[in-house]
């Protein structure tokens, strides 16, 4: 029998070959330099154009606009969720007529621009002033803020109905049958078995929908609501200072990113029993 009498002595690892500068790295560096230059230009513009007077005049207005945006979106999301439930159930019902109506609602509101819907409600319903006054609804449709809230709510209800329907239909049949086998009533089965599973599926799309709504809510500025975008346009029209748009961009980015991270945290927390 033969066996190795001496081991191969330990050797130094192969020398690292200096990789030539790959085109990908060059492109990455170039683009990052461009980003850095833009960031520096932005900072320079803000420091250079700093104006105590403007800050004191428009700063509080921006904060007020921020609050308007947040309250508008918050209310629209909640009201839209309330409105979306019956639409989602109509969409899932066996009743053909109900189904068709719900489908038409969702289709129309998802395939027309929010801006056109808003104009239709704010300016369009304005031409029915006598009728609206006789029903006593004119106070609602006279105010741009209410019209903005109304159109955002209708719009998000269509999207949320689809999210809810998709989530409920994603729960497998076996769950319904299992609940029936346990003797749970339809109502209880839905509340305790189906809905919790569906809402976890719906969590991520809901987060996306809120982000889309925050971005979409900027259109209410066009119909003279002083939300964040509206205040920005006001400030720009007074000062012709390009910075006003950059400040708005910073605010919007901050809200959206904060919400995205918050949502990721909530999702991780709520689905921790599903992790392996």
């Amino acid at each position: 029998m033969s066996y190795a009498k001496e081991l191969i002595p330990p050797r130094a690892p192969p020398a690292l070959i200096d990789k030539p500068l790959a085109p990908a790295r060059i492109a990455g560096i170039v683009v990052l330099v461009v980003w850095a230059a833009l960031a520096i230009a932005l900072a320079f513009m803000m420091i250079n154009g700093w104006n105590e007077d403007k800050f004191l005049r428009y700063g509080p207005r921006y904060l007020h606009g921020l609050w308007t945006t947040i309250s508008l979106v918050g209310l629209a999301v909640v009201l839209g969720a309330v409105l979306s439930a019956p639409i989602a159930f109509a969409r899932m019902s066996r009743n053909e007529a109900l189904n068709a109506i719900a489908y038409a609602y969702v289709y129309v509101f998802r395939s027309t621009p929010l801006l056109a819907q808003l104009f239709l409600i704010y300016y369009g319903l304005g031409s029915f002033r006598p009728q609206l006054e006789s029903v006593g609804l004119w106070w609602f449709f006279r105010e741009a803020w209410y019209c903005g809230l109304f159109s955002l709510t209708l719009n998000t209800a269509a999207y949320q109905a689809e999210i809810l329907r998709g989530a409920i239909e994603s729960v497998p049949r076996g769950q319904h049958e299992g609940a029936a086998a346990l003797g749970l009533s339809k109502r209880n089965a839905f509340r305790k078995v189906i809905l919790p599973q569906a809402l976890i599926v719906a969590l991520r799309p809901y987060g996306n929908e809120i982000v889309l709504l925050i971005k979409g809510s900027a259109v209410v500025a066009i119909v003279t609501v002083y939300d964040l975008m509206g205040e920005t346009r006001y400030a720009f029209s007074r000062t012709f200072d390009y910075q006003s748009y950059l400040w708005a961009a910073i605010f919007y980015l901050a809200i959206v990113e904060a919400l995205r991270h918050l949502w990721a945290f909530i999702e991780a927390r709520l689905t921790r029993h599903l992790k392996r």
Binding site: A24, V31, Y123
Partner: protein, 260 residues
């Protein structure tokens, strides 16, 4: 604007052509074509909207593809650079992006011209600004769609391309891209419909699209509900036509998958 599309539209104009909607049903009313009504103005708006969306699409797709390539590269810096782009432009409202691009381009061009000694005022074309802003937004979303499509293509496909002796660019063009398109198509279909709706924002910076033309008609004729209703209807019809057309494209893209 593109001469080809305008020529095509004048022959087959679905609104104000020989067999157009407005000329058949709207003659003598407020939406008649010509001097009497608003039909031809609105038809022009439809053309602008479609042209803008069609002009934005290839630009957005190409930029989006490049961003997706950057986002899936092995180089950390390149990934970071692409990440910054998508984070910024997916987080900003489209309307704000439009204003930033519109006024930003103006200021930029003015500054460049001023350094050459020209001190006049520069007004940039609303169509170009709208196209740039929409392309930026579209590309940041489409890059995400294409990135997930890239991730769905197994490594073996690249290796097989290498084994066949194909150059990297040939592998990309002949092996990866056809699969990428097929996987990304449903996502891109959604993005096209969103793009079609987003074109309505350019009415704010004064481009004569559907919403602006109907808005002018509404203000002059005091029939706001009617005209904005027409605007919504036109967008709805455009979306329906797109989804039918894209259905054909999707079937065409799937023809090589065979029947299973």
């Amino acid at each position: 604007m593109s001469g080809f599309f305008s020529a095509l539209f004048s022959v087959l104009d679905p609104l104000c052509g020989p067999v157009g909607l407005f000329s058949l049903f709207g003659s003598g009313s407020i939406v008649a074509c010509g001097e009497a009504g608003w039909g031809d103005e609105i038809a022009f708006g439809v053309k602008v909207t479609i042209t803008l969306a069609l002009a934005t699409l290839p630009v957005g797709l190409i930029i989006g593809f490049l961003i997706a390539l950057a986002a899936q590269s092995e180089d950390k810096l390149l990934r970071l650079a692409a990440g910054i782009y998508t984070t910024i432009f997916r987080g900003l409202p489209e309307l704000l992006t439009l204003f930033i691009v519109y006024y930003g381009l103006q200021i930029l061009i003015q500054a460049v011209l001023a350094s050459f000694g020209y001190a006049g005022r520069v007004e940039i074309n609303a169509f170009i600004a709208g196209m740039a802003a929409l392309a930026v937004v579209f590309s940041s979303y489409s890059s995400e769609v294409m990135l997930s499509a890239f991730r769905a293509i197994p490594r073996g496909q690249y290796e097989a391309g290498d084994a066949l002796g194909l150059h990297r660019s040939r592998t990309m063009l002949l092996v990866i891209l056809p699969q990428l398109i097929r996987i990304a198509l449903p996502g891109l279909t959604n993005l096209w419909l969103i793009l079609l709706k987003d074109t309505s924002y350019v009415s704010v910076i004064g481009l004569a699209d559907i919403l602006r033309q109907t808005g002018i008609a509404a203000r002059v004729s005091k029939e706001a509900f009617f005209f904005y209703g027409i605007a919504c209807l036109l967008y709805l019809i455009l979306a329906m036509i797109s989804s039918v057309g894209l259905g054909f494209v999707e079937r065409w893209a799937k023809r090589s998958e065979g029947h299973r």
